[in-house]
């Protein structure tokens, strides 16, 4: 599956039954310098549209929402140690978490890149 996007500015890619989730380039630009990332515990159950992680810039804290229901199977400890990576490579090496997908049908409502670019007014 190619990369999909949410209206809350997360991106998601799927490999088998596991989804990798991060925040979009647009979101990282809006946040400004990221200084802290709070990642969920492995094994935690997350629900679509509910807070899964927190990302903090110098100015403010923002939630990162789970785009789908599932269970956290991995988190990116690199961004916890080096939050600035979220600004450098948000849609690549600065992924946030991997979620074992509980309900694959939830993937269908997500935006593709063209739709997301239009959504953010590019």
């Amino acid at each position: 599956m190619s990369v999909k996007f949410t209206e809350e500015h997360e991106w998601i890619t799927v490999s088998g039954d596991v989804a990798t989730v991060g925040i979009t380039i647009h979101a990282a630009e809006q946040l400004g310098d990221v200084v802290f990332v709070d990642l969920p515990a492995i094994g935690k159950k997350v629900a679509k549209g509910k807070e899964a992680a927190v990302v903090e810039s110098v100015k403010a804290a923002s939630e990162v929402y789970a785009p789908i229901d599932g269970e956290i199977v991995d988190v990116n400890k690199t961004i916890a140690d080096e939050p600035a990576l979220v600004n450098k490579d948000p849609e690549g090496t600065a992924w946030f978490m991997k979620i074992r997908i509980a309900n694959p049908s939830q993937l269908e409502g997500l935006m593709d890149k063209a739709a997301y670019d239009k959504f953010v007014g590019k």
Partner: protein
């Protein structure tokens, strides 16, 4: 976004520089330029940062002579205004009858020939209307408030600020912290004070409104100078342990609780004669029940304004009033009010962030040493 918002004379410059403009205290102001808050913050600590603070309220208290004007203003603030030397500036607060803080401000004694009875005052943008009404209502016959509706004020802050300005007029080198001069820069007459709100050495400069753009451009021509937005202004003042009105101080906090006793004149502590003197004197004598302190969270998670502060037994002892990430400290920094019994530096506390108790401790302010040129 721009509906009903005012613009400073430098608005077009900010937009041309690529600033992100946000509403602040009724103005469209730059929160950051494209380089971002961290870079702007660090640049100011290392070189010289240029801030547009034209939204702040510049006004004059005008009386027939210095003593009359100073006495009139002493009726509103707890500072020793009468003791100001010519061209000297002081930090103070407008107090309510209950000893709360209506606003904090800078007041300077004019030394212009013909203007010896003038005090130059700078108040917060968000409080201009309240302050002006309050001041005007409490001045005696013969002393008046003169406000400047269209004015320009910029701050040049950082260790290279003096060198930058000295290239244009070497007289700035003779100025000391909290001194006030009128100087010529490239043919422009500018009111200068050696002060600011970053903890660094620096200057606040007020050219004529019509010279604003030309003066801003002149300063930015120096490669040591970069424009700095409100985001970095906030992280700089927080590291410097300085209060932000509406957050760290307001009408409920007294200057004693806010740890601003240093700004209350010695004569005035005993003599009183300012609004709220009864409360201030009582708190000076027997101590306030709560106190503004620095709070250093352990680990990396910032604790924002509104975060509950508990002691190690889990009792609520106060609230964070300013908190975020300190780029120079390279970690989270905060300040807030705690019960006086738990306000000693070194006291361990816990901060409730997203339902978790984060370990932290009370620390002495500032987080970054002030580098004023005294």
């Amino acid at each position: 976004m721009s509906e009903g918002l005012s613009r400073t004379p430098l608005y077009d410059r900010h937009v041309a520089l690529g600033a992100r403009m946000v509403p602040f205290a009724g103005y469209e102001m730059p929160v950051q330029y494209p380089t971002g808050i961290l870079t702007e913050h660090n640049w100011t600590r290392q070189h010289a940062g240029l801030f547009d603070v034209s939204h702040m309220g510049q006004c004059f208290i005008v009386g027939p002579d210095f003593e009359t004007t100073a006495k009139a203003f002493e009726n509103l603030v707890p500072a020793d205004v009468l003791g100001l030397a010519p061209k000297q500036q002081r930090y103070s607060q407008l107090l309510t009858a209950d000893g709360g803080i209506l606003d904090d401000l800078m007041v300077a004694r004019s030394a212009y020939p013909g203007c010896e009875g003038w005090l130059a005052v700078v108040v917060n943008a968000s409080r201009k209307a309240v302050d002006y009404a309050h001041i005007a209502a409490h001045l005696p016959q013969g002393v008046t408030l003169k406000t400047e509706d269209a004015s320009c004020l910029v701050a040049l802050q950082g260790p290279e600020a003096e060198d930058v300005l000295a290239r244009l007029n070497p007289a700035v080198r003779e100025m000391r912290f909290m001194h006030y001069e009128s100087l010529d820069f490239a043919g422009m007459t500018v009111h200068v004070t050696r002060s600011g709100y970053t903890g660094e050495d620096g200057f606040e400069l007020s050219p004529c409104y019509d010279d604003a753009g030309k003066f801003w451009d002149l300063l930015l021509q120096d490669e040591r100078v970069k424009p700095i937005g409100l985001g970095a202004r906030d992280s700089l003042r927080l590291e410097a342990g300085l209060c932000l009105y509406g957050h760290d101080i307001d009408e409920t906090t007294s200057p004693v609780e806010a740890d601003l006793v240093w700004s209350i004149g010695k004569r005035r502590r005993s003599a009183g004669g300012f609004p709220g003197a009864a409360r201030v004197q009582k708190e000076l004598a027997s101590g306030p029940t709560r106190k503004r302190v620095g709070i250093k969270p352990e680990g990396r998670a910032p604790a924002r304004e509104g975060t509950v502060i508990q002691n190690m037994r889990g009792d609520v002892i106060g609230t964070i009033t300013s908190g975020g990430f300190g780029p120079t400290v390279n970690g989270p920094v905060a300040m807030g009010y705690v019960a006086a019994a738990e306000a000693a530096p070194g006291t361990p506390v816990q901060l409730i962030v997203r339902d978790k108790a984060l370990p932290a401790s009370v620390v002495k302010l500032p987080f970054v040493p002030n580098r004023f040129k005294r």
